[in-house]
């Protein structure tokens, strides 16, 4: 078995290729920094492993996701490299390739995006490129899978060359420095010395930390200084070593490109730029973004999503329930089993499943956003606003992903370079209303705000963002002061999303929801039903005397000032920590109704519209779910920040709900 690492610049189609070669489905999107951790897959031959890595421009990292790649090179075993190049940006891509060849592992190059290059009038002579680098170059179209089988055969085959490790001559000073490092290490490290030395001279802190394990730090530092010094002595130019190395590589690359690529100017303005004139327009940028969001919510909650959910609800509470009832009767089941299944499982699981259409519509839009290339534009448009609160536009990407699910949103914060902004983004992403909170809104707007469904839901999403921005301002003024912020973002060309990829992406996100309904929500429903069925005085009692009522009753008074001091509300809030959807399934079981429509009717008795809104706001903000909390812990590595993220959310949720409920009452709302 071989380990083959997939590496290349960001957004060059590595993950698309990974999916094609391993038959898996990993997260693909049209912006830089989609993949933020290493992913392992098995080739279709069933033997060798392919490892997908985050995209990097060089092996000298600035951000955490880039650090994953450098760590991989330093600490993990692999046999071969598969380097993906973007044919339309050959020059910049080759900088990485040269570093990989210095590493000296067998390399194969996959030349991707040839269609884009062709549109730009760039012609690449694959034979010449391969000859110049001394490695095999294979053309592929990662998106459609063309050329992938040939590439798979090439990389898993036995004939993979190393390429020319000494392609670039860095001048006497640096070359001597490489030899001196080799002497210092004296065969104690397994990694290629030339590569280590060049990375060290470039200022790669990961490599430095690695070398410190073998050689005293003073020696390393004096080596770097003396190399820089002797470079200056020999050549008289004042450039830093990093600049010299970059320049030398560029010179080599210029030669390679001149020999292998040609360009005929094609004058027509690319479609991408025309679209950009509109969506990043001075005046239209933000309105267009808001309009698109509004459209998305109208479709999800009003035009399309609601009718579909209603139809599904009718189907579940009608034929499906009747069928199960009949089956149970035929099996001769007892009353206990009947109640468990009909009042517990069907109410709980069915209550969540009816929202599947709406969830899928939302995910479809998120996928569309991700795959089209608009995501990076949103970051650009939002940067001014984000800067004002101490973040940068890139932090908006994790937040948008957080609308689907907070967990990948928090992961995506890895691409943010400055630690302070990254931490803030991690802490604030849970305020983005994830899809699991959507059923709660759908239920309540259906019951109380029929006329303005989409608008009310939109107001909640916007509220989440606004609260996040305000808190960002507060945090950056108090807890997380200092540090300059940095914003450079690559804006990829727009790509027409393909139906198949869009569907895959939507399905992949949505199926988790369905799966969760069948597993956790199922289990939770059984448990909740049991707790509501039994009480201190025995089984099959009135629900108000159940364990669940007792449990919820303890905390109910706390929620009275914010409008929902019933044991039912507090009991459902508890289950919400495990997974937000279970709020809905708990309510369905507690209020003990056959379908969504009658639940909405019953709601009107227990809540006023004002209390309902207050409840929705509370649900929006009150706590990150268990999985999100665990991810925050994993990503920050700090128990304190994890506890903080829970604590501040509870506090803000309570205060805001209090203000809304009491304030609303003052203004005579109810």
């Amino acid at each position: 078995m071989m380990n083959i690492a997939l590496i290349g610049n960001p957004n060059t189609g590595k993950t698309s290729l990974f999916n094609n070669l391993t038959g898996s489905y990993e997260y693909v999107g049209n912006w830089s920094g989609v993949t933020v951790e290493k992913k392992v897959g098995v080739f279709k031959n069933g033997e060798d492993q392919l490892i997908d890595l985050p995209g990097v421009y060089t092996l000298n990292p600035l951000s955490k996701d880039e650090g994953v790649v450098t760590n991989f090179f330093l600490n993990e075993p692999f046999e071969k490299l598969l380097n993906i190049l973007d044919a339309s940006q050959l020059r910049r891509n080759l900088h990485l390739t040269l570093q990989l060849m210095e590493y000296g592992a067998p390399v194969i190059i996959g030349l991707n995006m040839l269609d884009v290059a062709k549109n730009r009038g760039i012609q690449i002579d694959i034979g010449k490129l391969s000859e110049a680098l001394g490695v095999t170059v294979a053309p592929v179209v990662a998106r459609s899978g063309k050329g992938c089988d040939e590439l798979a055969e090439l990389v898993t085959g036995d004939f993979v060359g190393m390429g020319k490790t000494n392609l670039v001559y860095y001048g006497k000073a640096i070359e001597d420095g490489i030899l001196r490092l080799a002497n210092m290490l004296d065969g104690r490290v397994k990694l290629p010395i030339r590569w280590l030395a060049l990375q060290l001279f470039e200022g790669n802190s990961y490599v430095k930390d690695y070398l410190v394990k073998y050689v005293a730090i003073e020696e390393i530092e004096s080596l770097i200084l003396s190399v820089a010094d002797s470079h200056f002595q020999l050549s008289g130019d004042k450039q830093t070593l990093e600049q010299v190395i970059y320049r030398k590589r560029s010179e080599t690359i210029d030669k390679i490109v001149a020999a292998s690529a040609s360009r005929k100017d094609n004058k027509k303005v690319p479609l991408t730029e025309k679209v950009d004139m509109i969506v990043t327009n001075k005046f239209l940028g933000i309105p267009i973004f808001l309009l698109m969001m509004y459209f998305m919510f109208m479709l999800t909650f009003d035009w399309l999503g609601f009718p579909l959910s209603d139809a599904l609800d009718a189907f579940l509470s009608g034929p499906v329930t009747a069928g199960i009832t009949a089956a149970l009767a035929a099996a001769g089941s007892s009353q206990f089993i009947n109640d468990l299944i009909l009042d517990g499982i069907i109410a709980g699981v069915g209550g969540v499943l009816v929202f599947v259409p709406q969830i899928f519509i939302l995910f479809f839009f998120i996928s569309l956003l991700e795959d089209s290339g608009y995501m990076a534009r949103v970051a650009l448009v939002m940067d001014r606003l984000m800067e004002a609160v101490g973040l940068n536009g890139k932090a908006f990407i994790p937040m948008m992903i957080g609308f689907g699910c907070n967990v990948p949103g928090i992961m995506a914060a890895r691409t943010i370079e400055t630690p302070k902004e990254r931490l803030m983004t991690i802490l604030l992403t849970p305020l983005m209303s994830c899809s699991a909170r959507l059923p709660v809104y759908a239920l309540f707007v259906g019951a109380f705000f029929i006329q303005h469904k989409a608008l009310v839901v939109l107001s909640l999403y916007v509220l989440g963002v606004v609260v996040a921005l305000i808190l960002a301002k507060v945090f950056s003024k108090t807890l997380l002061k200092g540090e300059t912020s940095l914003f450079v973002i690559e804006l990829p060309p727009y790509r027409m999303p393909q139906a198949r990829a869009l569907w895959r992406s939507t399905w992949d996100k949505g199926k988790g929801f369905v799966k969760k309904a069948g597993t956790f929500i199922f289990a939770g429903s059984v448990l909740i039903w049991l707790l509501a069925y039994a009480g201190p005085e025995g089984a099959n009692i009135s629900m108000d005397d159940s364990y669940l009522a007792a449990l919820g009753g303890i905390f109910a008074p706390l929620f009275a000032p914010i409008g929902f001091g019933t044991w039912q509300a507090s009991a459902s809030l508890f289950t919400g920590f495990l997974a937000k959807e279970s709020i809905i399934s708990t309510m369905n079981i507690i209020y003990y109704v056959p379908d969504e429509a009658s639940l909405q009717g019953l709601m009107a008795v227990h809540y006023t519209p004002l209390a309902a809104y207050s409840f929705m706001v509370f649900i929006l903000l009150y706590i990150p779910c268990l999985a999100t909390t665990a991810t925050i812990y994993k990503e920050t590595g700090s128990k304190r920040w994890t506890a903080f993220s829970i604590g501040y959310a509870l506090l803000i949720a309570y205060l805001l709900s209090l203000a809304i409920y009491q304030g609303g009452k003052l203004f005579g709302l109810s």
Partner: protein
């Protein structure tokens, strides 16, 4: 100064050393250095970022940084 160019104007980068260290690194990663030709594609309002194009790729940077990059108008 790159930040002074209007949308649609082109220039060649003369000196980039005034910009923030990390911004410079990122621009270098993207292949933008002294001598690169750039074209300002659009400028966002309220002192927001500028979108520039170089060698067929578009990049967004803050106005503040753009004002520290010297260009020669082309």
């Amino acid at each position: 100064m790159l930040g002074k160019l209007k949308a649609g104007e082109k220039g060649r980068i003369m000196n980039i050393s005034g910009a923030d260290k990390f911004v410079r690194r990122r621009l270098l990663d993207l292949g933008i250095a002294e001598g690169s030709e750039v074209c300002v594609k659009c400028i966002l309002p309220f002192g927001g970022p500028v979108m520039i194009e170089s060698c067929g790729q578009c990049i967004g940077i803050r106005r503040k940084e753009a004002l520290r990059i010297e260009v020669e108008r082309a």
